[in-house]
Structures are given as structure tokens and as C-alpha cells.
Amino acid sequence: MTLTAYLGFALALFGIGLYGLLQRRSLVAMLIAVELMLAAVSVNVIALTRLQGRSAGMGQVVVLVLVGVAAAETAIALSLFVAIQRAAHNIDVEKLSELKR
């Protein structure tokens, strides 16, 4: 696969993630969509640093840090969802509108 093919693949993955983030109503489903977008970014970083004259190892370091941050984010987000469910008995974003009132 060429560089353009990899970038196009990452673009498609990012687009699907963006669509899911906008369309889904469950908080867990929105988190899945965000993770898809982060994975697309990782593909871009790995592909672009693999080019001649770049350090492939450095790109992998960046992606590993990104994975660590994403894992921390997921842990916090999922525990927040459980807490929200306990308080509001719902994790549907269209019904969590108490601040509007």
C-alpha cells in the first residue's frame, strides 16, 4: 500500500468515527466513536514517520504515549458513565439535559 492509501484509510476511519460521535445517543457508543478517531490519528503518525529520512521509532513512541492517554481517558469516562447512570438512571445524552432547565 502507498502512503496515500494509508492516509485515505485513516481518513475513512476518522470520518466513520465522526459520524458515530454525532449520531449516537448512548455515551458508551460515543466513546467508541472517539476511540476510532484516535486510532485513525495513530495510523497517520505511524505511516508518516515510516517515510525515508524520518525516525520510525519516534513515531511509534508518539503512538504508544497516545495509547496510554487514551486508556486513561477510557477508564475515567467509563467510571463517569457508571456514576451518571447511578444518579440519573440513564446514559442517553438527549435525556441528560438537567442543566437546560
Binding site: Y6, L11, Y19, Q23, R25, A29, A33, A56, V67
Partner: protein, 169 residues
């Protein structure tokens, strides 16, 4: 097409199919399974790019940890036996339009950019990544470990069930 190229292309196809399922299905449990499939595909793409260690880490973290944690969160929060709310065509159409416009704009930027006509450089394995992490990027390494500890403790504190039942949250 070389074997590596075929593996990459097949993995990319699997990843895109999994991603479509992860946002398309209505059952949240199917979404999580498709998400794990998509992450396996992305790991295959990393294998094709010569990033073996990152591919293994992706499988370990996303398929092994994140997907399982999501299943637990769904079991604790979302009643699967209730019928999902009906879909709204307007919202779906708006999401499709926004996502497609954004992707198209990015594609045009990408095609218009100047890419130096470089081939692929040498792949670097886990040894090189480990050397980077413990010499040039040791601060990032330590920061991520501290962040993970703090996030873990924060997650436990947030999701903890309080027995006194004082505040609402």
C-alpha cells in the same frame, strides 16, 4: 502486490467493516464487538507498516482491556432488554452530511498538499522503541505512567458506591 501489502489491504478492509459495525448497529454489545474487530484490523495495518510492537500493544490495550471495560460499563449502566429509542432520520442525515463534508475537505487538503516523493524507510522494532523511551523520551514515559496511576485512582473514586447516600452524585 507483496504479501505485506495484501495483509495491509485486508486488515484495512476488516478495520473499516468493524468501524462501520461499531457505529452502525443498534445493540451496544454488537458495537463493542465490532469495535474490537476494528482494532484488530488497525493492528494488522500497523503490522504492514512494520510497527510490530505497536500492533501488539493495540491488541493488548484495545481488544484486551478497553473492550472488556466497555462491556462491564454496559452491564452496569445500560439495560439491554429495553427496546432502543426510535432513530431520527434528521439527526442521521445531519451527521452523515457533517462527517462527509469534513472528510471531503480533509481529502482535498491531503491531495493538494506537497508530499516529497519518498519511499518507505527502514522499519524499527521494539528494541529501538525501548531505547527511545528510556533515553530521549523518558519524560513522556514517566508522565504516562503517572497519568495512568492517577486515572486508575480517579476511576475508582468516581465509580465508588457511597453508602451514606448524602449528595446526589
Amino acid at each position: 502486490m507483496t504479501v505485506t501489502g495484501m495483509v495491509s489491504a485486508a486488515s484495512a478492509g476488516v478495520a473499516l467493516l468493524g468501524a462501520l459495525g461499531a457505529v452502525g448497529f443498534r445493540n451496544i454489545f454488537h458495537n463493542i464487538l465490532c469495535f474490537a474487530l476494528a482494532m484488530l484490523g488497525v493492528a494488522g495495518v500497523f503490522l504492514g507498516l512494520g510497527a510490530d510492537f505497536v500492533a501488539v500493544v493495540f491488541v493488548l490495550v484495545y481488544v484486551g482491556a478497553v473492550a472488556i471495560a466497555m462491556v462491564y460499563a454496559v452491564m452496569l449502566s445500560q439495560p439491554l432488554d429495553q427496546a432502543p429509542a426510535p432513530r431520527r432520520i434528521g439527526k442521521i442525515a445531519a451527521a452523515v452530511v457533517i462527517a462527509a463534508t469534513f472528510a471531503l475537505a480533509l481529502w482535498r487538503v491531503m491531495r493538494g498538499a506537497w508530499w516529497p516523493g519518498l519511499g518507505w524507510g527502514p522499519a524499527q522494532g521494539a528494541a529501538e522503541v525501548g531505547r527511545h523511551f528510556l533515553t530521549d523520551y523518558v519524560l513522556a514515559f514517566e508522565l504516562v505512567s503517572v497519568l495512568l496511576v492517577v486515572a486508575m485512582m480517579g476511576a475508582v473514586m468516581v465509580a465508588r458506591r457511597t453508602t451514606e447516600g448524602g449528595g446526589r452524585w
